[in-house]
Every structure is written in C-alpha cells, then in structure tokens.
C-alpha cells in the first residue's frame, strides 16, 4: 500500500526505544497540586472555589469563561490552599488554583452510561458531555475540543482523523495507548463519528508502529466507517495541516480551518478523553506523559493526574542518571524548555524530556551559506532563510509578503541548518509581532 505523506520534513534520531516498551504506570501525586486556569486556547477559566474549600476528585474548580474556553477539574481530593499566579511551562505566571492533596482520592459520582444510553444519546448530548468534561486538544495546542467538534456545517465533514502519528521524537505516550487501550481510542473516534453523519473515521499511524497498525486494523475490521491509514515516518507527519494532506490530499493554509477541508482532527489522548467523557461521564483528569531522555534513570510512561508537579515525575522515574543540561516539556522539536521543574503538568503536557547535552547551547550560529536545506525540509513550503532575515531586520511587511504567517513553527529549518542559525526562533518572534500588530490595528 502506498504510504501517505507530505513534501519536506526531517528524520531526526527518535529516541523512542528508551520508553516504548514500558507499560503505562499509574502514579499518584504526593505533593501539592497546581491547576493553572489557562491550559487551553481561549479565555482563561474563572475559579469557582475559594481558599479553604474542600474539593473532591472530579469536582469542577474553574468554569469556562465563554464558548472558546474550558472547565478545569480537580484531580485529587483535598483543600484549596490558595488561588494565586504560578509559573507554568511556558515561563508565564498564570493564575492557578493550588490544592493540598489529602491523598484519599475521594471522588464525585459520575454519570456512567451503558450501551443503550449511548445509542439514544443525541448529538447535542454528546457535545455537551465533551464540553462539560473540559476536553481540549491534548496534542499540544489545547484548542477546546467541543469548539472543534461544532463546525458551521457538520454535514460537510467527510473525515474524522485520529492523529496517531506521534511524529515527535522520544514521545511514546500515544504508542502505549494504542498498544494497551486501542478499544478506548476506537470508541472515542466512534463518539466523534456520531456527530458527523457523512464522515469516515481515519486512524492515521506512522509506519514505525507496525504493531499498532496491525492491532487497529484487526479491531476495526467490522467497522465500515473506520479505516486505518499508514503514514510514512517523518517529522512533522502529525502536524494538523500535513496530516490532513497526507490522509486526504486536501491542503489548507494558515487562514483556514480543518473543517474547510471537510476534516476534524483529534489526537489519541483526546479521543480517549472523549470516550471517558461520553461513556463514563468523567471529566478530563488524566493523561499519559512520557518521562524520558538520556538523563533520566528509568524512562517511563505514566498515567498522570493533571496538576501534579514535573519534579514528582522525575523523582518517580528514578531521578537523573546524569546531570541534565536541558529539560523540555513536550517533544524536542516543539516542546518548551523549562528553567526549573517545579511547574505543573497540564492538559497539553505530553512528555518530560531530560537531555544530558544541550545541543543548542553547544553551537554558535554562523553565516548562512545559502545551502537551501531549510527550504527543502519546510513542510509549509516557505523560505525560512528569507523569513528569518526579514525578522532579524524588523521588516514585517516583507515577512508577511513572503508568507511568513504560513509557518507552523515545527522547527525543521533550525534542525537542519548547517550554520546552526536560529531560524525557527526568529520566525516565531516575527509571527508573534505581526499577530500583535494586527490585533492592535483591529481594535
């Protein structure tokens, strides 16, 4: 079978062997829990608990502030200790609810459904359950899932794509999910398909996970609406626009939504969360986090209570083998570097990566030799070198003219650059400035 792919991309060392054979382990936090009210794109949620309140696991502690926003739930039982700004993975200070975990994990009652309930559930009910559960895109962007699942014309959605690519090096959380709980993923996808009458479901998996492909194919043999598609292993195969193109040959630009191409894309963990919300009435409280890197003693995949500190995860994984030079939340291509591990896991935290060597710090950028490699690998088909030059000269008009806003910040250009130039960084900051200027002009 022809493998689905896109033009450009890179093949970095994937490091997945460190953790791919480690079964998912449950981990119960001991320390204080921190819940930033902004773990998603959109308006920050508003806290609905006060200092001193006692909360249960599964209790809503912050309410979505509008449609494009998301609820936050407590993942432990305990007492609200404070509501104050705390440092998050991006380095920003975000208003957070701090809960003193009593270690008893007393839960609220969930509205569990059986098969008959599910069959009778209306589209509105399904969407409501997803919205109530506070589910956001758990692949990293954190876009509220109920918004994604409410396009203007649901009948024009042809494909519901499950993003099982996991193209980021080192990450194995989706892989473990597919190996251990493939049924959950498929049921989650079926819940989404319920919303779109004309859509087919696509499980898109990279060909470096043949065991997952075989498993998913066997399980969906009798599902006429679901097909498994094999993708070429290449970064960033799981980037939303590239994934849509690889699986459907439809291309959208930065100003369009997947729905414009008749697609809805959700990642593995998100679909599992949807399953939990629709069937079990459970809010989003857990996610799989890969704790890995060559500086970690025992790389693991953990089922983590969202809100627990990264420090605890490192401790659970046996601590450091060697002194890490760099710690990243997420994968090495698009993750955030942490200057300290005392930050909470959030809905979008897919991995914690501790690297013994900071490759970026080791190299000094030198002159561009015009080799064209950045252009060759750019999945957005723009000219990173020219864009970075505009960014460095502050020429934002030309930056936009050269399609700088089409960049998806995947990092391929910086990765390949033989002169070790910080192309992605320059382009990213220019994009931020252009967006900010547009916002200003709009007001």
């Amino acid at each position: 079978m022809a493998k689905h792919s896109f033009t450009g991309g890179i093949h970095p060392y994937d490091g997945k062997e460190l953790s791919k054979d480690k079964p998912i382990k449950d981990i119960y936090p001991k320390g204080k829990m921190v819940y930033p009210v902004s773990q998603h794109i959109g308006a920050p949620a508003s806290p609905i608990v006060a200092k001193g309140d006692h909360v249960l696991r599964g209790q809503r502690i912050a309410e979505a502030a509008g449609f494009v926003s998301s609820h936050i739930y407590s993942t432990v039982s305990g007492t609200v200790e404070a509501i104050e700004p705390r440092r998050t993975v991006t380095g920003d200070m975000v208003l957070s609810i701090i809960i003193d975990n009593d270690g008893e994990y007393r839960e609220v009652d969930y509205d569990v459904c059986d098969e008959i309930d599910i069959d009778n559930m209306s589209k509105e009910d399904i969407l409501k359950r997803i919205q109530d559960a506070g589910i956001v895109g758990m692949g990293g962007a954190g876009f509220p899932t109920h918004v994604k699942l409410s396009p203007k014309e649901p009948d024009r959605i042809d494909y519901c794509i499950a993003n099982c690519a996991e193209c980021e090096p080192y990450l194995t959380s989706d892989y473990r999910r597919m190996i251990e709980q493939p049924q959950m993923l498929i049921e989650g996808l079926k819940c989404v398909l319920r919303l779109f009458d004309n859509a087919k479901g696509i499980l898109a998996v990279e060909d470096n996970k043949p065991d997952c492909i075989a498993k998913l194919k066997a399980l969906t043999k009798n599902e006429p609406r679901i097909l498994v598609k094999t993708l070429k292993t290449k970064y960033p195969q799981g980037a939303e626009r590239q994934l849509i193109f690889a699986t459907t040959r439809r291309a959208i630009n930065s100003s369009m939504l997947p729905a414009d191409a008749g697609c809805v894309v959700n990642n593995v963990d998100t679909l599992c969360a949807i399953y939990n919300a629709v069937w079990n009435g459970k809010p989003l409280m857990e996610r799989i986090v890969t704790v890995t890197g060559d500086a970690i003693k025992e790389p693991q995949n953990y089922r983590v209570c969202i809100g627990m500190s990264y420090s605890e995860l490192i401790e659970a994984a046996g601590g450091y083998k060697t002194e890490p030079e760099k710690i990243v939340s997420g994968g090495p291509m698009m993750g955030f570097a942490l200057f300290n591990t005392d930050v909470p896991t959030t809905k979008t935290a897919s991995a914690l990566l501790a690297l013994s060597k900071d490759e970026v710090a080791r190299y000094t950028p030198t002159a561009c030799i015009n080799c064209g490699m950045c252009l060759e690998v750019c999945p957005g088909r723009v000219m990173p070198k020219a864009l970075a030059e505009c960014a460095e000269h502050g020429d934002y008009e030309r930056f936009e003219k050269l399609n700088g806003m089409e960049c998806c910040e995947c990092g391929c250009c910086s990765y390949v650059c033989p002169a070790k130039r910080q192309l992605t960084q320059s382009i990213k900051s220019a994009r931020k400035i252009v967006l900010a200027n547009k916002k200003k002009a709009g007001k």
């Binding site: 200057f339 088909r381 391929c412």
Partner: protein
C-alpha cells in the same frame, strides 16, 4: 530559583551536518581531481595548489584580524576557494600567480561583500577571470613539461583532431584540475551520494549545453565532437563543483534548473561563437549575477496555497 536550567526556543535538537563538515567534504571530493593534476603535471602543480590555499586562508585570517571580526577560517570555506582556484590555474604558471588570485578572491570578492554567504559571485571563478584579464598570456599558456601545444578544445576549434579517450582520462593539457573527467566525476559522486549536491544544476547545465552544441555547433549531434566538448575544458569541474556552489546559486528547485539551462546556453555561445575555445568560467559568473532575479521569479508557493504537491 537556585538551579536554573538552560532555556531556549524550540527545536532543542540539531542535525549533525554543519558548514565545516560540508566544506571538508567538498575538499575531499576535489582531491581526486587535484591528485590527478599533480600526477599529470608534476610538482609545480602541487606547490601552486598548496600556496593558493595558504594565501586564501591567511588573507581571510588577516582581514578578520584587522577588521576585528570573528575568525572564520575554520569553516574551511577559504580552503575550498583556494583549491578550486588552483585547479583552474595553468600547470606552468609562476607560483606567485595563484596566491595573488587567492588574495583577490578572498579580500575583494568574498570579504568586502560581507564574508561567507554574502558574495554574489563564486570567489574562485571571479579570481580566475581577474587573472585571465590581467595576465592573459600566462593564463592561456598551457605548455608545460608534460605537454606542448594547445588544449584539446583549442585544437578542435582550429579544425584539428583530438584523442577523446585521453581527454576522458585526463592525459591532455589544460588547467591543473580540469583535464580528468573521470577524477572529477568520481569526486562529484561523493558529493552526490552524501546529498551535498544534486543533479539539478549539473544535469540541466550539461544537457542544455549538449543540445545547444548539437544545434549550433556546426557538427550536429556527432558523438565525437560532443564527447570531446564534454570532457574538454572546464565544463565538468564547473558543472559539478562551481555552478553548484551554495552561496552563488538559486535556492529554489525550479530556479536551479533555470540556472543550469542559462549556464548551458552561455557556455555554448562562448565556446561556439566566442574568440576562445573556453567559456565555462564566464558563463558561471554571469549566471551568478542572475541568481537574485531567478530566485525571485521561482519563489515556491506555500503549503495550502498551491505549493503542497511539489
């Protein structure tokens, strides 16, 4: 915050390919041609090569020292320039000539325009043309101990006959590094296999030249004349090692093919209609000057705006 970790923007990993490694590979790939030149022409060629390289590296270092700039000689780009220039020198040229060209290449063509990556012409070729214009007698005299008489292409143009097999092996007169088609192509294969260059520029260049020569060369598509034209002069060295110079070629795929076609036509014009039997150097530096224009007109379309299927 006692123990702060390194923080930087994504991505946090880098490929192992770096500028100095690329330049070293180019040097390595030029060694067969250089080695053949020394074997073919004798020790004078070796000294010319070594002194020219030394002149390039030292002038770059001194320039940076005087201008209080960061020393960049360890990226080995000056070595590549010196080696390429030396390979374009006549074997019997006096030993001060190569180094003089080297200083011109580095100081005037490269450093004054901003150093590596900023020069708009290939420094080695610009220096060769500078020497050709300034010292035409020495630069076009290919008589040496091993060979007397004109280069094969000049012989051919004058109506004489040549031994094509000798030309392919390289047992003919010419510049130090241009005579052996086999050695040059062997070196080019290293770069092709490593992915440092691809066939877009050399391929379109050579094919265009063959077609142009067949149409306007006066001998039709005669295999004797065509193989002699391909093996003779600087075409192979130019097509694989100088037209493919990263800094002075277009970056876009389409632009590279356009660039190759332009070079093929220019070389054909110079060789057929020009006064000299050679034309590769001039073709490439004229092509170099068209690069910004070519790049501009062949800029890729972004993904989602028509560029996703290329």
């Amino acid at each position: 915050m006692s123990d702060m970790m390194n923080v930087s923007s994504n991505p946090h990993i880098r490929s192992k390919v770096s500028t100095d490694k690329i330049m070293l590979c180019v040097v390595l790939a030029l060694l067969p041609a250089a080695g053949f030149g020394v074997w073919n022409f004798g020790l004078n060629a070796l000294w010319q090569i070594l002194l020219t390289i030394a002149a390039c590296v030292i002038s770059e270092a001194l320039y940076e020292l005087f201008m209080k700039k960061k020393l960049t000689i360890f990226d080995f780009s000056a070595v590549v320039t010196g080696l390429l220039l030396a390979l374009n020198m006549p074997p019997a040229a006096p030993l001060w000539l190569g180094p003089m060209g080297g200083v011109f290449a580095i100081i005037v063509v490269k450093m004054l325009f901003g150093g590596l990556g900023q020069n708009f012409m290939n420094p080695a070729l610009a220096a060769r043309c500078f020497l050709l214009i300034s010292f035409p007698g020495i630069m076009t005299n290919f008589e040496c101990d091993a060979y007397t008489g004109a280069t094969p292409l000049a012989t051919l143009k004058a109506g004489g006959s040549v031994n094509v097999l000798n030309m392919i092996i390289g047992r003919t007169s010419g510049t130090i590094g241009e005579t052996s088609m086999i050695a040059i192509v062997a070196g080019a294969c290293i770069l092709l296999l490593l992915g440092i260059i691809d066939l877009k520029i050399p391929g379109s260049y050579i094919i265009t030249f063959v077609i142009f020569y067949g149409l306007f060369g006066g001998h039709g598509f005669n295999s004797y004349y065509i193989s002699a034209e391909l093996a003779g002069g600087g075409l192979m060295l130019g097509a694989f090692f100088m037209a493919t110079d990263y800094v002075t070629r277009p970056v876009t795929k389409l632009g590279q093919i356009v660039f190759g076609v332009i070079l093929g036509i220019l070389t054909g014009i110079f060789r057929i209609f020009g006064a000299s039997s050679e034309g590769v150097s001039y073709a490439i530096i004229i092509g170099n000057m068209l690069v910004p224009l070519i790049t501009r007109f062949t800029a890729p379309k972004p993904f989602g705006r028509g560029g996703e299927r290329i």
